[in-house]
Symmetry: C2
Subunit: 279 residues, 2 copies
């Protein structure tokens, strides 16, 4: 938003929680010249404030509450289907926080079928972080009630306790015979390590896709022969701090940690390090 506002010559206002915003996102926002307010509160406080600002201060809201945002997010699905030559996969698995993607994916799939682009709907699997899983709770109770929680997870992009697009997301899950589940932060970080070391990489929240897929395979919800698309929503460089912290952790490092080693500038030390790593 900050980048496009800058290119269009429009003033931009960005509200973020004072704590827990990914370094890359904050750095870009400041660089692009957006007026950036660190709110002493969480994502949900920021969203509430923005809604008030929209009503009282003449600010145009560009969060996914804005229906044009949802229209834009639909292109994720349309491009995905196009790349699969309009053969819909059995499942689409993706991270779920504010539920904008869930809502947009449901709408895109419904329209794609209406327009005759695909003949059947894939099932959506929306994956929340265990510490920010109000939608999971609603799903497990048959969507009888909407919940709000105090969100807490390492995955800042889905650290959301009161998802704005709840109603439209319920429709999306119901229409696609979808499922909603949660994954622990540890599983999410392990999944992220696998995505990273494949040479692709992603921000922490995105790894909910793969962690969720693993859980659904374990449960047998997703069968061995079913086709699945997992969606990575954020670039690896959005959150370099989580990365460096995990890989350089000295106390009980995770099994996938790849800490850098410091050496003197001589070839004997390079040789020793190569031998140690088995290359």
């Amino acid at each position: 938003m900050a980048a496009y506002a800058a290119q269009a010559g429009l003033p931009a206002l960005v509200l973020v929680p004072a704590e827990g915003v990914a370094t890359g996102k904050l750095a870009q926002t400041l660089a692009y010249g957006a007026r950036t307010l660190l709110v002493r509160g969480d994502f949900d406080d920021c969203l509430r404030l923005l809604q008030e600002a929209q009503e009282r201060l003449g600010v145009y809201l560009l969060n996914s509450i804005n229906p044009f945002r949802i229209e834009g997010q639909k292109t994720i699905i349309l491009e995905l289907l196009q790349q699969l030559s309009w053969q819909a996969p059995d499942w689409i698995v993706f991270p779920a926080g504010n539920l904008g993607n869930t809502a947009a994916f449901g709408k895109a799939l419904r329209e794609a079928r209406q327009w005759g682009l695909i003949s059947r709907l894939p099932r959506l699997a929306a994956v929340q972080a265990a510490g920010a899983a109000p939608f999971v709770r609603s799903f497990e109770e048959g969507f009888r009630q909407r919940y709000r929680v105090k969100a807490d997870t390492i995955a800042t992009a889905i650290r959301i306790g009161d998802p704005a697009s709840y109603e439209r997301a319920v429709t999306a899950i119901k229409e696609t015979n979808g499922v909603v589940l949660s994954v622990a932060d540890a599983d999410l970080l392990e999944a992220k390590a696998g995505i990273d070391v494949s040479g692709v990489g992603c921000e922490p929240a995105s790894a909910a896709s793969i962690a969720g897929l693993r859980a659904l395979r374990r449960r047998g919800t997703i069968g061995r022969s079913e086709s699945v698309v997992g969606i990575l929503t954020g670039h690896i460089l959005k959150d370099p701090d989580v990365l460096l912290r995990q890989h350089q952790r000295t106390e009980s490092p995770p099994p996938w940690a790849n800490p850098p080693r410091e050496i003197e500038a001589n070839i004997a030390q390079v040789e020793r390090m190569l031998r140690e790593s088995g290359n």
Copy 2:
């Protein structure tokens, strides 16, 4: 390199200076699983070590000393010319450190003319950081001598004192009637702020292009009506720390600083901040 090695299933070895590597680059390298050695020395020490490792440890060198790297970097120029419908600009301005791009750009332009893709050569303007400008010194003395310096600049990507592609870069500058100049770190950061706030953004070293272009306009080397392409070599998220440090600096902040402001979660404070920023 780490990403492609991971995707190809090849073990990767990365040597970087123990101090002064951009956060984003280190984070990605670790994430992609490359064996990463922090060498107590500078870029030039790392390159020397890698050359020894190539000879003695059977390591394949993927630095721009490797001619295939230069072939790849040529595509920057070929794509640029294609996007300009094969109408070469009068100037191409770009950051210069290890001189791989300078060498590759010269080769690409020579070949493009030989192949009849363009009818005349643009002039190359290679821009170094003032604290890492051995090529500038050589240029100013008519390339009578090659120099080595102890490099010191905020622009980590061109913090290089003994450029590996010196000889090929000399040919490139001579053949294109090019120029070589240096810019101070302060000018570089100011240029970067302008690139960032345009909504494009870049890493610090890349801004040498625009800082250099400004200097060449001031000197009259580049005329008012000449066409210029400036090349940005690195993404803004490669080095988020420099960004945050500059924008959040409390002691003599630069005029373009855009510090975030911390507020309580209430609309009155949002309103006050908007009024203060004149929106």
